[in-house]
């Protein structure tokens, strides 16, 4: 009986990665290795103002003094930072002014990913910024957004055209020396997305960035900065994929969000970097620092993530609840399969009065993978009436995987009310048999059960993403039942 179960398990978990192709696009890149000279070159290539170079160098000097964090429940192989290319960009003669001038091979890449860049196809109402190998390729719908005063462009462009905004907010939520990977990113990041919502504006469409690593031996270091002025609202989506390669590739991103008074920012991620093959070879190392600051009173930041890819995921989208009555939310589904490892969670720091946070984390482990939730709820001395609700569920498929929960609480104010719930369950043979008996095959049954389990989180995603995420969950777990 156990054997049969293992067999099915194996089948479901062992499906192939759909986005593993490489595109034949000419890239311009710097030689491997990292030193001050490389950083100066990156800055120069991007024609950056002095303050940017200073920010990078300061970060680099910090980074040199830092060590790889060892506290996560991850086995991180030694990374040779001198063996990585820190800058690769698709070669284009000049910045394309319309899609006709964009390399057709590049457009094809995004089409194969199911990301149509043609604006007419975008009547569905999602503005897209596509980032290939660290460089923003095309941002759609810019003009429409500009009418409302919304700035949505690549980070590099923002540095050129809105240097004051960049200077004012960059590094205020995630300082250059925040942690090892954030410092690395701050030193070498090449592009990313920038988004600014002016006072009183409700962004009329979802803003979306698709990240794609293409070139070999290249690290991807993008940086996203979102600023929501008083009384504004924006919903932001992020998707990512990468080719199948035997060597591991490094992805170290930084996302900073600033929400001012009464502003609300929803940030949704469907992370599907290449996870490596069934034997654990290759895959992306995903070390990401995402943090939002509820700076103004009554502001709200909500993180939703569906993490299915990457060989290693190290990621803790967090909220600093500084404004009174501000709200932080974290909804996460993290799936690990085969030899994937994930250590993910959040930090909610309550500083203002009457601040509230909600954490819903759903881990799913299959194969020989390890999946950990790590979360910190911190209530500062003056944070009167802080409230937190945390729910951390783990679902195991088979008996070779692991699920771990590491909740931390630091409460310095007696008026705080903190609730924590945790469950661990296994997808039961009984549940699958029940579905089978109703004519639903095992694979579809797993899809159904897993999506049911993750429903609370999937419901938080915008419609287009929710459908994609549901399929992704099923594909990721194809071949894996217990």
């Amino acid at each position: 009986m156990m054997n049969d179960q293992d067999k099915v398990l194996k089948e479901v978990t062992q499906s192939d990665y759909k986005f593993g192709f490489t595109s034949n696009i000419e890239t311009e890149s710097l030689p491997k290795g990292l030193n001050e000279e490389v950083i100066r070159l990156i800055s120069e290539k991007k024609n950056e103002p002095e303050f940017m170079l200073e920010f990078r160098l300061k970060a680099y000097r910090n980074w040199l003094k830092m060590k790889t964090p060892q506290w996560a429940h991850l086995k991180i192989p030694e990374i040779d930072y001198q063996d990585i290319i820190y800058y690769a960009a698709p070669k284009q003669k000049a910045k394309p002014s319309s899609l006709d001038e964009v390399d057709p091979e590049l457009l094809d890449t995004f089409n194969r990913l199911g990301i149509p860049l043609e604006e007419q196809k975008h009547l569905s109402g999602v503005a897209v910024d596509a980032v290939l190998d660290s460089t923003s390729v095309k941002t759609t719908f810019k003009e429409t957004l500009a009418e409302k005063g919304i700035i949505f462009c690549s980070f590099a462009e923002a540095v050129q055209e809105h240097p004051d905004l960049v200077k004012k907010y960059m590094g205020t939520v995630v300082p250059a020396g925040d942690n090892y990977f954030a410092a690395l990113n701050s030193a070498v990041f090449s592009d990313g997305s920038f988004c600014y919502i002016p006072k009183g504006v409700r962004c009329p469409m979802e803003l979306s960035t698709y990240f794609r690593i293409n070139a070999a031996n290249t690290g991807q270091f993008e940086r996203t900065l979102i600023i929501a002025e008083d009384d504004s609202y924006v919903s932001y989506l992020e998707g990512c994929t990468a080719p199948m390669r035997d060597e591991n590739q490094l992805h170290a991103a930084v996302v900073e969000i600033v929400a001012l008074e009464n502003a609300e920012v929803k940030y949704s991620t469907v992370q599907n970097w290449y996870p490596g093959d069934k034997n654990g070879k290759g895959g992306i190392y995903n070390f990401v620092t995402k943090r939002g600051m509820c700076k103004g009173n009554n502001s709200k930041i909500s993180w939703t993530q569906v993490e299915t890819g990457s060989a290693i995921t190290w990621k803790y989208p967090s909220c600093i609840l500084r404004g009174d009555n501000s709200v932080g939310e974290f909804y996460s589904v993290a799936v690990t399969n085969n030899h994937q490892q994930a250590d993910t969670g959040t930090k909610m720091t309550h500083i203002g009065k009457n601040t509230k946070s909600t954490i819903i984390s759903k881990g799913i482990s299959a194969g020989q993978s390890n999946n950990s939730y790590r979360g910190l709820v911190k209530v500062m001395k003056n944070a009167e009436n802080a409230r937190n609700f945390s729910q951390c569920d783990s679902l195991l498929m088979g008996d070779k995987c692991g699920a771990h929960t590491f909740p931390y609480l630091e409460i310095d104010n007696k008026s705080a009310i903190i609730e924590h719930e945790a469950t661990t369950s296994k997808i039961g043979e009984d549940q699958i048999f029940y579905c089978n008996q109703r004519g639903i095959d095992t694979e579809a049954a797993i899809g159904l059960i897993v999506n049911g389990y993750a429903k609370e989180v999937l419901n938080k995603l915008p419609m287009e993403f929710a459908v994609e995420a549901q399929k992704l969950l099923q594909i990721t777990l194809e071949g894996s039942v217990g």
Partner: protein, 250 residues
Amino acid sequence: MLKIKELYVTINDQEILKGINLEVNPGELHAIMGPNGSGKSTLASVLAGREEVNVTSGSIEYNGEDLLEMDPEERAHKGVFLGFQYPVEIPGVSMVNFMKTAVNEQRKQRGMEELSASDFLKLMREKSEFVGLKNNLTNRAVNEGFSGGEKKRNEIFQMAMLDPALSILDETDSGLDIDALKAVANGVNKLKRKDNATVVITHYQRLLDYIIPDFVHVLYKGKIVKSSDKSLALELEEKGYDWLEKEVEV
């Protein structure tokens, strides 16, 4: 429709069924009765295709095909339905979604088109009224937080939705109060047609006050020791199962 011949079954190397013979024809309603541990649920499991059930010899023919060769879902597509003794909870999966997947999967296998959302919801409403299942139950997650009675009614509801050719109801009456029992029996009676068959597995005769079987079989220590019409059920009710011991030993 169903022909079981000299069926021997083990679970974890322990012999549970010891040479079962049973024939079920369209339009018939069979009741299989027997004390605890006689192998009733094992018989239901082997018909539905549970993995842990191991057939050591014998055969099961279903509409001329070898049932034992089929996966559980294939059996379902071909019209075999099992009403579970302990219906399983699937948190977060709505009954609507669950049933829609099941019904459309079955239709696909039969070369039919999927039902549209509105046709499907209409069917749901129709069938839930038919079996007297409250509408709000169908909006909840599969069996999650259902009372014992609701779970069993939900099984009959699913039976109505899938319209099986052969239904096996495993202890569907256990743990029911009289109203739920009547509702379940009523559903079974209403679903009975000339072209389908039902096998009701039960410990007690009280269900048979509301469902009139064409045949009653007594399963005892892994064998069908007596088959007769419904009068047998009454005899069992009166005398219990002990008297069988002597008869069987003979």
